[in-house]
């Protein structure tokens, strides 16, 4: 299975260029090629669960060459990226009929998927930057796909802020190369473990924090997200909110801080503060929105705050040599919430796209009473809203419960952490309020006379909605110890070993 790792990058790139070459005359060929490129990726990603390994590209060994590293943490993100992208491609077979130049959409989409797979698999810092830029540039073009007023303005704002973030990341990589002399993540980890930390090292750490924070839309760096996510077409919003801010933002900063730079308690405190700010500011700005997709975008910021809070808590406890069981629980809660959020947030965006495709509007005040006309969309949207609000037995409840339990356990050591528990529960309550508002305005109430003749979505859109809802219901089963030790425990182990990652990779996994 390790020999097939480069296929995760080669298949999307080959598919994208093949579509540009052949599919500009035949419309159906673009659909077929898109599905044929993303279905093998899904199958390969599911087959990779449970393996670990290192692949040396071009037969150059580390530290000279580029490695592709498959360990527990990469596998979770790899599965999430490929599952959600397959659902989004299936959905966009019929959603993108309203735009022209559908083949360009598929080519850019496959480029974005290839870039994200590269970010998740790579073991080299500059290669991380290159794949991050591939995925980001493809997403800037996809946000502006419709070429209306608002989409262009949102895309320009996203482009400027995203490029500033990428430039900060490149400056950080340059400073780190100047300090250690290596670009390979494992070699940098080994060099950092025995190096004295000068002010240049803190400078590089701050640059990485700001750069990846802009990509992950944590709170001081979030202003691009509420404009970019509503303006994009619905499957692109699902990809942006469901996987891009996770693979480029949260995965990259976790990998760099835990395994390359080494977790310190100051880092843990900063990341926890960023997480708490994101949670509260995101949800209080979301409650007052009257645009369906803009409300969902603000909720993305808030849920990312949950994930970052869990990971920051784990970092803080590991750095202060606290009990590793509590740190493991906090990290597990964060990663589980990452996986759950990908599924239910993309389901919510696809439902909103389905509503917009049939009715033509996104404003909550103009919608109403769609429950008898669109039953599949209504059931999926209800399941997703209950998931995000944290109602048992759907998947959102379990991950939020684990994060709350982890904060309570940490409060036994540091009593001021009880504030975190209170804030988490309050934010969850406000999330429930805002989603009840969404359900009431969109589906209940009376049907306006404009919408008398609408029907439910077509076959492909319904198929992806139903599959994602089934995933939402059944992902709570990942808590059973048998499944958990296969899927999540290797990830937590990788993050807990910190700088020893370097030694393990260089001597062969």
């Amino acid at each position: 299975m390790i020999e097939l790792l480069p296929l995760f990058i080669a298949i999307p790139l080959g598919g994208a260029f093949l579509i540009t070459l052949t599919a500009w005359k035949l419309k159906r060929l673009a659909d077929i090629l898109g599905v044929c490129a993303s279905l093998p990726l899904l199958v390969l990603a599911l087959l990779c669960i449970g393996n670990r390994g290192v692949y040396h590209i071009g037969a150059f060994l580390a530290p000279l060459g580029i490695n592709l590293v498959l360990d527990g943490f990469s596998i979770i993100l790899l599965v999430i990226v490929n599952v959600i992208s397959f659902m989004a491609i299936l959905y966009s077979i019929s959603y993108m009929e309203q735009y022209t130049a559908k083949y360009k959409y598929y080519a850019l989409f496959l480029l974005m998927v290839g870039g994200m797979n590269g970010v998740v698999l790579t073991g080299d810092m500059f290669n991380l930057f290159v794949f991050l830029e591939i995925a980001s540039i493809a997403s800037y073009a996809l946000v502006a796909f419709g070429c209306e007023h608002e989409e262009l303005e949102a895309s320009f704002k996203y482009l400027v802020l995203g490029s500033i973030g990428s430039t900060f990341i490149l400056l950080g990589v340059a400073v780190l190369y100047g300090l250690t002399g290596y670009l390979n993540m494992a070699s940098i980890a080994q060099a950092v473990a025995s190096m004295e930390k000068t002010w240049l090292f803190s400078f590089a750490s701050v640059l990485f924090l700001v750069g990846f924070g802009i990509k992950a839309a944590l709170v001081p760096f979030h202003p691009w997200l509420p404009d970019a996510h509503p303006s994009a077409p619905a499957p692109i919003s699902a990809m942006l909110s469901g996987v891009l801010i996770k693979a480029l933002g949260v995965y990259a900063i976790t990998r760099v801080v835990f395994n390359v730079l080494g977790a310190t308690s100051l880092f843990g405190i900063i990341i926890m503060v960023l997480g708490v700010l994101s949670m509260t500011i995101g949800v209080f700005l979301a409650v007052g929105q009257w645009d369906f997709k803009r409300l969902l975008a603000y909720h993305s910021i808030s849920q990312m705050g949950y994930v970052v809070l869990g990971l920051g808590l784990g970092m803080f406890i590991i750095a202060n040599k606290g009990p590793t069981l509590v740190a493991g629980m906090a990290i597990f809660g964060g990663l589980f919430h990452l996986a759950n959020h990908a599924v239910f947030k993309s389901l919510l965006f696809l439902c909103s796209g389905s509503v917009e495709y049939q009715t033509g509007t996104r404003q909550l005040k103009e919608l109403g009473g769609l429950q008898e006309k669109m039953p599949v969309t209504r059931v999926s949207c209800t399941i997703a809203s209950l998931s995000i609000a944290g109602i048992p037995p759907l998947n959102g409840f379990w991950s939020k419960l684990i994060i709350v339990i982890a904060t309570v356990q940490a409060a036994f050591l540091y009593p001021s952490m009880l504030i975190l528990t209170a804030i988490t529960i309050l934010v969850s309550f406000v999330t429930l309020i805002s989603f009840l508002k969404v359900l009431r305005y969109v589906f209940l109430g009376e049907l306006p006379s404009l919408f008398k003749n609408i029907k439910d979505s077509s076959l492909f859109m319904c198929a992806s909605l139903v599959m994602l809802s089934l995933l939402c219901i059944s992902m709570g089963l990942l808590l059973i110890p048998g499944l958990r030790s296969v899927v999540f425990d290797p990830a937590v182990e990788v993050l807990k070993q910190g700088l020893d990652y370097g030694k393990q990779i260089l001597t062969g996994l």
Binding site: E133, C147, L152, F156, L159, L170, G178, S231
Partner: protein, 120 residues
């Protein structure tokens, strides 16, 4: 001494992105920022020698002496990184200018303080 100058160029580019109102000037500021980081990367490879003739380009020819070469040649890895980074910057600039052309078509102006449709 030269590395803080690269950082000063970076700050100049950041100032241009933050304060200018014309969309094209914002794109120019973005390119200045990227070029300053490329400059910083290339200058990392320099090997400090006693005199100017002690520094050599990293090209191996049939007549080079290999021990001498390893003492004197500059580091080729930052040069490869900068080539890739210049091409990435080209891609971002091309996309930004294409979006600016479309923005002019829609709004009729290049002034960014007049494009305020997305609020809240």
């Amino acid at each position: 001494m030269i590395f803080p100058l690269c950082f000063a160029l970076f700050v100049v580019g950041l100032y241009c992105v933050l304060t200018k109102k014309n969309v094209i000037k914002i794109v120019i500021g973005l390119t200045i920022m990227e070029y300053s980081v490329n400059l910083f990367l290339v200058l990392l490879g320099y090997k400090k020698g006693a005199s100017f003739s002690d520094v050599q380009a990293p090209i191996i020819e049939p007549v080079t002496n290999l021990d001498d070469f390893f003492m004197k040649a500059v580091d080729p890895l930052p040069q490869a990184m900068v080539l890739t980074s210049i091409v990435i910057g080209l891609g971002v600039t091309a996309l930004a200018i294409a979006i600016c052309i479309r923005l002019y078509q829609r709004y009729g102006t290049f002034d960014i303080s007049k494009m305020r449709r997305l609020k809240g």
